[in-house]
Symmetry: D2
Subunit: 188 residues, 4 copies
C-alpha cells in the first residue's frame, strides 16, 4: 500500500473558461484514489527578475515556491501559444527554479498534458516544456503522451468530458502517472 | 540607397545589469548607419489573458503593440532560463500576437541573439524562440547564428565589448541583419 | 517576368506507396507554371562518414550533391519517425552539407511540408528539420506552415488529392513558395 | 546487491577516430563495476524502409534489434550534424522502433551524452534525441546533462581523458546512470 501523493497542477492559460483548466479539473476527478491533484495558481506571479530575489522576494513568489515544495509531484497542463509554452507558465517555472541552487522542482516526478482546440494538440508546447524539465531534473513520464486536440467540443456545460474514450484516456493517463511516481520515488 | 530601418529590440532579462541588455546596447552602437536599434521594454506587460483582450485591453499591452507595429524589424536578445525562452520574453511575444488576426509581428524581419555566461550560449532559448517565429510569420535571418557565451567577462565597466573579435562579430551580425531586411522587405 | 525556378524535392520516406511521395507529386502538379519540382532520390546514399569524404567520395554522394547544387530551391516533404526527422532524410541533409565549407545547401530558399496519417501532421519532424535549416543557411518560408494529417485517406487510386480544400492548400503552399523564392533570391 | 546491468552504447559518428567513440570507450572504462557498456554498431544498417520489413527483413536489422533487446539499458553518445542528430544514428533508432508494436526500445532506461569539438557540446542533437525517447517510452536520465565540448583536445594518444575534472564527470555520469537504472527498473 502506498501513501497518498499530492500533485501540484499548473495550468498554462489564465482564461476563465480555459479548456486547459477544464482538462486539469477533469483529470483531478478521474485520478485514482491515492493521487490528490490540486491546481496551483500562477497568474499572480510577477515576472521573474533576479534583482528581486535579493533580500525579500515578492510574497507571491515565496508562496508559490512553498506550495510546489510541499507537493510530491507536478502535472503541467498547457495550451500552445505561438508554437511554444505560454509566457505565464514559463514564468512560473522560472520563478520556481531560482535562486540558483534552491529550485523547488528538483527531483519531483512530472507529467505533461497539452490541450488545444486544434488538431495538433499543442505538440510544440508539450515538447518545449519537456526540454525545461531535463534541466530541472524532474523525472518525466514518457508514455502515454497527451496531445489533446479538439478541446472546444470536449466538455459539456458542467465541465465533464463528453466522449467515453477521451474520459478513459484521462483516467489511464492519471493512473500511469500514479505508477510513474511510485516507480521513480526515492525512498527515504 | 535604402531608407533608415527602425529595429525594435527585445531583451529577455529584466535584471538591471543584465548581460543581455549590455549586448543589445553594444549591438545598437555597432550597427551600420541605416539601422536604428531601440530597446522596447517588456517587464511592465501583464501576463497575457485572453479575457483581458475583450473591451479595453491593458494600456501597457496597447502601447507595446503600437511600438512593435511602428518598427520595421525585430531583434530578440535573450538569455536561457531552464533551457528555453524566459517567461517574461515569451509573454511579450504572446501579447503582441493577439488578438487573433491582429498580430503585430506578422511579416517583420527578425534576428535572434542569445547571450549567456556559460559556454553553450543559450542555444536552447535561441531555437525555441525561432520555433515561435515560424508561426508568427517573421522571416528570420539564419546566418550568422549568434550563441554568445562567456558574457560575464565580455564587457568593460562602461559596457563596451572588450575583445576585438567579439566586437567584430556583433558588427557583422548587425550588418548581415541590415542586408537581410533589405532582402526580404516587401516593396510597397 | 521571372525565370523558371527548379526546385529539388526530398521525400523522407522510402516506402513505395509513401503518402509523402504522393504529396510531393501532388505538389509538383499543382505548382504554378514557373516552378518546376523534381524529386531527388535519397535512398541510395551511403551513411555519411567523414572518412569517406577523403580522396574519392562515394559516387552516390557526388551525384546527389550535384543535383542539389543545380537546383534553385529545395522543398522537404517528410513523415515523422519517432517524433523527429527520418534517419534517411537526415542523412541526405548531412551528405549535402559536407565537406566543411562546401555545403550544397547554403543560400537556397527552402520550404517544409510534413505529412502523416495521424492528426498531428508530423509537427515534430517539421520543426526539427527547420532547426537544421538555420545552420545550413537556407532562408525558409515561415507561412503557410504545412502539417498535413490524415494522409491515409487523402489520395484517390490515381494519387490525386480528393478534397478540394486540401488541393487548394497545396496549390497555395506552392504559390507562396514561388513568391518566397523571388523575395529572397539574391540578384546576380 | 544489484545484478550486473548490460548497457548498449550507440555512437552517432562513423569516423574511425571519432571523438564520440573515444568518449563512449572512456565511459565504458570509468563505469562502476555493475555496469557493463558495449558499443552496438550502426553503420551497417540499411536505411529504414517499411516495405523491407514485410517478409524477411535485412539480417543487419534483425541482428541489431536482437542486441538491443538483450540490453538492460541504452546510452546514446552523439555528435551534432547540422544542429540535430546524425542521420546514421537516427536511422538506427528508426530501425529499432519498427515494425509497429515491436519496438525494441520500449521501457529501457536511457541516457544521452553529446560530444563536439565546439563549445556548444552538441546541445541541439542532445535534445532532438530526447524528443524521440519520449515516443519510444524510454525513461531518460535528466541530470547530469552531458554536453561535452572541446572534444578535439580531450583525449591523449591512447584515448584516455587528459583532464581530471572531465574524467570525474564521466565517472559521475556513469554512476548516476547506474543509479537511474535501479530507480526505474521494473521488478519482475
Amino acid at each position: 500500500m502506498t501513501a497518498t501523493r499530492h500533485v501540484a497542477v499548473l495550468v498554462g492559460s489564465l482564461r476563465k473558461d480555459s479548456f486547459n483548466r477544464l482538462a486539469a479539473q477533469a483529470l483531478a476527478q478521474l485520478a485514482p484514489a491515492g493521487l490528490k491533484l490540486e491546481i496551483v495558481e500562477i497568474g499572480q506571479l510577477p515576472h521573474y527578475n533576479q534583482d528581486d530575489d535579493v533580500g525579500t522576494p515578492p510574497a507571491a513568489w515565496e508562496q508559490f515556491r512553498e506550495k510546489i515544495k510541499a507537493a510530491d509531484a507536478v502535472i503541467f497542463v498547457t495550451p500552445e501559444y505561438n508554437r511554444s509554452v505560454p509566457g505565464v507558465l514559463k514564468n512560473a517555472i522560472d520563478v520556481g527554479s531560482r535562486p540558483y541552487g534552491q529550485s523547488v522542482w528538483a527531483g519531483k516526478p512530472a507529467a505533461v498534458m497539452s490541450v488545444s482546440p486544434g488538431a495538433i494538440g499543442a505538440f510544440g508546447a508539450n515538447h518545449h516544456l519537456r526540454q525545461s524539465l531535463v534541466f530541472l531534473n524532474m523525472p518525466t513520464m514518457q508514455q502515454p503522451e497527451a496531445y489533446i486536440g479538439g478541446a472546444a467540443t470536449m466538455f459539456d456545460e458542467k465541465g465533464a468530458i463528453k466522449v467515453d474514450g477521451t474520459r478513459d484516456f484521462f483516467r489511464s493517463f492519471a493512473e500511469a502517472f500514479a505508477a510513474w511516481i511510485e516507480r521513480v520515488h526515492v525512498k527515504a
